[in-house]
């Protein structure tokens, strides 16, 4: 056979997808209740806000910093609660540890938890129980994190090398002993990476929950911006940005140090997103 340029594969399917996506976008942007001329006021509005925000009010640091620390503490404890709950859930949700039926039920349960944002968990469950304040926010963060972390943990456990598990069984290890010595050491560095990653996300959640009175700096953000106290709002926003970047940087460095030598997973969620085998579960 003489060398021939191969035929171009059909693009029909791909083009259909693109066309339907474009149609969806057109429908949404044409029917959404937005007056596009409002956009004209955006530059002037933003400029007015920014020019009033600068210079920020340094005296307001005395209010903003303690509230930001509270947000970080909520994220910290919420992550610990989430990690503690996710360990048993993750082990039981892994097909190679528990039975197929138990693991599929647990996986659906974890998916269900993940579908409730922290804010909903806070207003519907934890504020009624614990009252307004950071405790409600912390518990909301903890439960939501347990959903995500449990899923990631189960996936990590399903990816282990079965060798050590067999070895632990062969030397007479029973139930929990096999998990403790055959499974846990294999996944622990990865799990700690997930926990730190979740902590970084929870910092952001810890800032939001104040809007509903569940503790943290969100309350100050809401109040200062709503009442147009711009220099104070500027200070608060700067505190949020600086604190978030500092925590991200430290946590990222620790993660890199812990999984040194292994594949550094900067964002485990991204890994799950692009790996079809993981995404399918």
């Amino acid at each position: 056979m003489p060398a021939q340029r191969p035929q171009r594969p059909s693009n029909l399917k791909r083009n259909l997808w693109i066309a339907s996506a474009a149609a969806l976008f057109l429908w949404a942007s044409l029917t959404v209740d937005v007056d596009i001329t409002d956009l004209a006021s955006l530059p002037a509005g933003l400029w007015a806000i920014l020019s009033e925000m600068f210079p920020p009010d340094p005296a307001y640091l005395a209010n903003a910093v303690p509230q930001m620390i509270q947000s970080i503490q909520m994220a910290w404890l919420g992550t610990i609660i989430g990690a503690a709950l996710s360990l048993p859930l993750g082990f039981l949700g892994a097909k190679n540890v528990s039975s197929g039926l138990v693991s599929s039920i647990l996986r659906q349960f974890l998916n269900a938890i993940r579908a409730f944002p922290e804010l909903i968990l806070a207003i519907a469950i934890f504020i009624p129980i614990a009252g307004l304040g950071p405790v409600a926010g912390t518990l909301a963060i903890g439960v939501h994190s347990a959903g995500t972390l449990g899923k990631l943990t189960a996936e990590a456990i399903e990816g282990i090398d079965p060798g050590p598990v067999e070895a632990a069984r062969a030397v007479g290890g029973r139930g929990l002993q096999v998990q403790r010595w055959g499974v846990l050491p294999q996944v622990l560095p990865e799990l700690i990476g997930f926990w730190l990653y979740r902590f970084e996300i929870n910092i952001r959640a810890g800032a939001v929950l104040g809007v509903v009175g569940a503790g943290g700096i969100g309350f100050l953000l809401d109040q200062t911006i709503k009442f147009g106290r711009w220099p104070q709002a500027g200070t608060t926003i700067l505190v949020v940005i600086v604190a978030t970047i500092v925590v991200d940087t430290i946590s990222g460095a620790v993660r890199r140090r812990i999984i040194e030598g292994a594949d550094v997973k900067i964002m485990p969620e991204a890994e799950v997103l692009v790996d079809p085998a993981l995404a399918a579960r």
């Binding site: 996506a21 969806l24 976008f25 949404a28 942007s29 959404v32 209740d33 937005v34 007056d35 409002d38 956009l39 955006l42 509005g45 933003l46 007015a48 806000i49 509270q70 503490q73 910290w76 404890l77 998916n111 269900a112 409730f116 944002p117 804010l119 909903i120 207003i123 519907a124 469950i125 009624p128 129980i129 614990a130 950071p134 405790v135 282990i160 090398d161 060798g163 952001r204 800032a207 939001v208 809007v211 509903v212 503790g215 911006i225 926003i237 949020v240 940005i241 978030t244 970047i245 991200d248 140090r257 900067i266 964002m267 969620e269 991204a270 997103l273 692009v274 079809p276 995404a279 399918a280």
Partner: protein, 268 residues
């Protein structure tokens, strides 16, 4: 992770690195401070268990949804969906060019890279509802500030995820493009983009999912969608109505996740 080679004698236990001790110490101290009444949030399991009864009447109402309220939920729910769609499309379109200024593979200049990554980490450090608050103040309440807020939020998420993907691509095609004399834009178009396109679509779907979830928060500050209705019903303590909203939201989030997982599986 492979098992170590078998040794004839039990090897000495390696000494614990100082990093671990310092890390554990810091962990315990931060946790204790955070738990304390005085310096932290004052989390006390004992009193929490006593209080659990307080929430029961509300939870009982939540378990008894008022389905007559359903018609009023539909319209804001559609608005939530529209906001999420528009913001995801625009945000992901904006994120694509930005990505190539924030990835090591495509930006040889260190200074440019540092600046664009710095800007991206600021964009990511601002939570979605803070964007919403600012845009509500700038253009007034309604879905427009919600869309603007989610655009920024999506640019941050997608550009971050995608630039990390670009950093990890196979450099062979890039060398080939360079060797064939392509310019930088041509190199990005023919050597980089084809490698990351499936990931880009996957991240965009993920951003869309995040948008639907974020809509609860947006409405709370007046940026359109279902959150506004949630806020009013919550403030008037209409728990049976709140329950209907939560169930609808749950169904839509779950459905979108299912569809998006299917799509992603076909893509990658």
């Amino acid at each position: 992770m492979t098992a170590a080679a078998p040794a004839s004698r039990r090897p000495a236990k390696p000494r614990r690195s100082p990093f671990v001790s310092v890390g554990l110490g810091a962990f315990v101290i931060i946790t204790l401070i955070s738990l304390s009444e005085e310096w932290g949030i004052g989390l006390d399991i004992g009193s929490l268990l006593e209080d659990i009864g307080r929430g029961l009447p509300i939870i009982a109402q939540l378990l008894d949804p008022n389905w007559d309220f359903l018609p009023r939920v539909i319209e804001p729910l559609i608005e939530t969906f529209q906001i999420a769609v528009v913001a995801a499309f625009i945000g992901c379109a904006v994120a694509l060019p930005i990505t190539f200024f924030a990835a090591r593979t495509t930006v040889p200049n260190r200074a440019t890279l540092a600046i664009s990554r710095g800007i991206l980490s600021v964009v990511r450090a601002i939570p979605d509802f803070l964007y919403a608050l600012i845009f509500v103040a700038a253009v007034g309440i309604g879905p427009l500030p919600g869309i603007l807020a989610l655009i920024f939020f999506n640019v941050g998420v997608v550009a971050k995820l995608l630039s990390e993907t670009v950093d990890a691509i196979d450099t062979g095609p890039i060398e080939a493009a360079d060797a064939a004399g392509s310019r930088r834009t041509q190199m990005v178009r023919w050597a980089v983009l084809p490698q990351v396109l499936p990931n880009y679509v996957a991240f965009s779907l993920y951003a869309f999912e995040l948008n639907v979830r974020a809509s609860t928060v947006l409405g709370f500050v007046g940026a359109g969608g279902i959150g506004f209705l949630l806020r009013t019903q919550y403030q008037f303590l209409q728990w049976s109505n709140v329950s209907v909203i939560i169930i609808c939201l749950f169904v839509i989030v779950f459905a979108i996740e299912l569809v998006s997982i299917r799509l992603r599986r076909r893509l990658v």
